[in-house]
């Protein structure tokens, strides 16, 4: 089992990433809190050793995505709620940002991870393939279709 100091370090280091992934997948703050805590508990109990900070980050991303998928297995969690309820931070969000974020969140679940990892985290398709356990070509296809869908949603605006 890992120490309290290690737990505090990763909460500071990866808390935001885990929180964002929860936002991408989950519909309410209660689920977010649940997954957030579960992910860090898994870390504390895990005996996995990491070769690099990138490796460690990829572990958090994968564990968070898997935890979210497990939770979303339930039919009752498939209802959506307005974005306002999801974003609990006080800073007001600009209209452009909100529109893009809403467009991404409204994508079918299978595209959201690839879009988030590519556009936000800056991972390449092979890296995304490794994290999500998917074929590289599948990742390219997902990203291509997601781009297409976002174009349609955003009315052809932006450099997708």
């Amino acid at each position: 089992m890992r120490s309290e100091a290690e737990a505090n370090r990763v909460i500071e280091q990866y808390g935001d990433t885990v929180r964002r992934l929860c936002l991408v997948h989950l519909k309410n703050t209660a689920d977010t809190e649940d997954i957030f805590q579960t992910v860090f508990l898994k870390y504390v109990l895990s005996s996995a050793s990491f070769e690099s900070p990138e490796h460690e980050k990829a572990w958090f991303i994968r564990v968070t995505i898997n935890a979210c998928r497990d939770l979303l297995g339930s039919f009752f969690r498939k209802n959506t709620v307005p974005l306002d309820q999801l974003l609990d931070q006080p800073a007001p969000m600009g209209e452009d940002h909100r529109e893009v974020l809403e467009a991404v969140l409204s994508l079918p679940p299978k595209y959201k991870d690839a879009v988030y990892l590519h556009y936000y985290e800056g991972y390449t398709a092979p890296e995304i393939g490794r994290i999500l356990g998917k074929n590289v070509n599948t990742v390219y296809t997902l990203l291509g279709r997601a781009r297409q869908l976002l174009k349609e949603k955003l009315g052809g605006e932006g450099d997708v």
Partner: protein, 275 residues
């Protein structure tokens, strides 16, 4: 799109409250980072639960395997199937009265002694006992030790219920008995009777009371004896060739005995003394 998305998501952060709650959660689950949390005990608990379930299933299976039979015959003829814990699993009637009694009884899962007591106290059996009918209780079990224990139990139940014959046997003839449509006890009586009268059928025996069967057996036995004596006295006079003469005389004797109603009554006391 990349830039607005980045900027929008940059605003999403794990709040201090969430982080603090998580720290408290981790501390609680790991008991101050000292012990593995309760979650880690799940595999052990699951294994224990599996073992428990298997044990229960095993016990359940063992519980519902009949190992002994108690055949109670007077006029109602029925059998109690017992498990290895001496509990009654089922009651089956082997003639009309027996079936009616089996339906009326509520002895399932009772200890065999309580069940036998209930059968003996039932109006159908109590009436027969009041008429001084003959009660037969057979304990059928392949295990000699269990046989004796069960026999002692039924003997104590039958004590004070008039003429009762309790005995134990192994299960070698149980299937034959059921095949003939008779309870074990009645089948034994049938075998005894059919040795004296080859024409008697299980169906005829089925509706007879045990006393009627015993009386018939006694009558046939005694008349066969008389006939044999007659045959030998005749043959003495005839000199050589005695052997074949005796054989034929015995056969005739049996036929006569079965037909002699009055003779049966006389032999009743003879049977009573025997048991």
């Amino acid at each position: 799109m990349s830039e607005p998305l980045k900027e929008a998501l940059d605003q999403v952060r794990a709040g201090e409250e969430l982080k603090e709650k998580t720290r408290a959660f981790l501390s609680e689950k790991t008991r101050g980072y000292q012990k593995a949390p309760a979650v880690s005990r799940r595999p052990a608990l699951s294994a224990a639960a599996c073992v428990l379930v298997l044990l229960c299933l095993g016990l359940w299976k063992v519980y519902f395997i009949p190992v002994s039979v108690i055949s109670i015959d007077i006029n109602p003829s029925l059998e109690l199937s017992l498990n290895r814990f001496d509990r009654v699993l089922s009651v089956e009637g082997y003639n009309e009265d027996g079936q009616a009694l089996a339906q009326a009884l509520d002895v399932r899962f009772l200890n065999y002694r309580d069940a036998v007591e209930q059968v003996l106290a039932s109006p159908a059996v109590a009436d027969c006992l009041a008429r001084d009918e003959y009660l037969s209780i057979a304990v059928v079990d392949d295990d000699a030790q269990r046989q004796q224990a069960l026999l002692a139990g039924v003997q104590s139940c039958a004590a004070g219920h008039g003429q009762a014959h309790c005995y134990a046997a192994d299960g070698s003839q149980l299937e034959e008995a059921h095949h003939a449509g008779l309870s074990y006890g009645k089948y034994q009586a049938y075998l005894e009777l059919s040795a004296l009268d080859g024409d008697i059928t299980p169906q005829q025996v089925q509706s007879m009371t045990m006393r009627e069967i015993r009386e018939l057996i006694a009558a046939l036995s005694s008349s066969a004896g008389d006939s044999a004596q007659d045959g030998s006295s005749q043959s003495t006079g005839q000199g050589p060739g005695t052997g074949s003469g005796q054989g034929s005389a015995q056969g005739t004797g049996s036929g006569q005995g079965y037909g002699q109603g009055g003779h049966h009554g006389e032999s009743g006391h003879h049977y009573g003394q025997t048991h």
